[in-house]
Symmetry: C2
Subunit: 239 residues, 2 copies
Amino acid sequence: MSSRKRVEVCLTPGEYEYYKGEYDIVVVIDVLRATSAICTAFDYGIRSIIPVSSIEKAKSYKEKGFLVGAERKGQIVEGFDFGNSPYSYMKEEFKGKDVVLSTTNGTRAINIASDAPTVVIGALLNVDALSQWLIEQDKNVLCLCSGWQDKFNLEDTICAGVICDTLIRTGKFTSEEDSSIAAKYLYLSAWDNPLGYLKSSSHRRRLKNLNLNEDIKYCLTPNKTDVIPILKDGKLVKL
Amino acid sequence: MSSRKRVEVCLTPGEYEYYKGEYDIVVVIDVLRATSAICTAFDYGIRSIIPVSSIEKAKSYKEKGFLVGAERKGQIVEGFDFGNSPYSYMKEEFKGKDVVLSTTNGTRAINIASDAPTVVIGALLNVDALSQWLIEQDKNVLCLCSGWQDKFNLEDTICAGVICDTLIRTGKFTSEEDSSIAAKYLYLSAWDNPLGYLKSSSHRRRLKNLNLNEDIKYCLTPNKTDVIPILKDGKLVKL
């Protein structure tokens, strides 16, 4: 058999249990908007982000004096100062700070993946830099799509498809799972016009109803940054 | 809002819990090979099929004198006479008979869906007849892909994509879920050459290793039959 490394896609957090254990690096993807916000935060100089799954845990950090963001169903949770809009992290006050974040899908997926040897954060915003770094590592890679409330979503799948396609084109990686083949195909048919393609996407429509059109445009812009956030001892830091 | 009915796709049995309750008709799809075998069985005159999830239950029916088929991981289970090859149902001895069947993915998906008001069986073999019947019903439809060991697979998704596309083209149905949009896109890019497209599919490769190439070719042939198997009181019968 070939000595090529594998790059595969897990389409929802619920399927992760059928993939776990086989991969050296897990890339957590939540394009709209958690992992896009996380990349933006590091691009703007934040020191670390502690991802927490529950609102209770987020509250306990707030009581300790941390800057804490929390989002559920696309909106900032009452009692918190920010959610997962990338724009909320473009602030001078966040520079060099440690921040806590809890979101509907993204931070939960990060915690689900935390058993993997290496967990990094992927978004369209950092997809080329991340893909190049993954190629250099030469290890088995799993892209974990956060989905929307445990269901499949298009934007995470397309981002995973970019990573698969880029890694496979080097000749050093291969995909075997149908999910990875589907992600690659969906990316290849979407790439010329990702905004148009995602126009029909349910999640995008949901955010549009919340007047988050600027957020969506930003999150769907490839390669705004070279940062690669990585999980170290339960904290996300810049690689 | 529109009064159009919905046609959506659930990509794996594991996600069904996030869809259930909203649909009048669930179409269970396991192209390779359970639902293709079931369509073939009715096309060749079988009277009923009792789908059972466990091998234990299958054995207890065998002890009662039933004709019982059982398949796990692509092969006939020891002690049973047939599995889920469509060719095994093209026999004179099955005509007018009641048969029991347990398979890795398909019969489990049928049982998961059994809470729905109506459960029918879909495959590429009956996809046009089934789609026409669904259009006539004018009800909310969910296509439930059986997947492969709880993971996404391409052939079920493409079959669901055909159904979505056919129903939506009438103007009487609409899709809102990203999974349905993805299924439609994957079908549209695969349809000219489904065998070629699925060449890279993991499940197909697995069956090929078991010398089931003839089965695969048969199961990927659209519209060999007009039968629509339907679940009535725990038994599949011809509509």
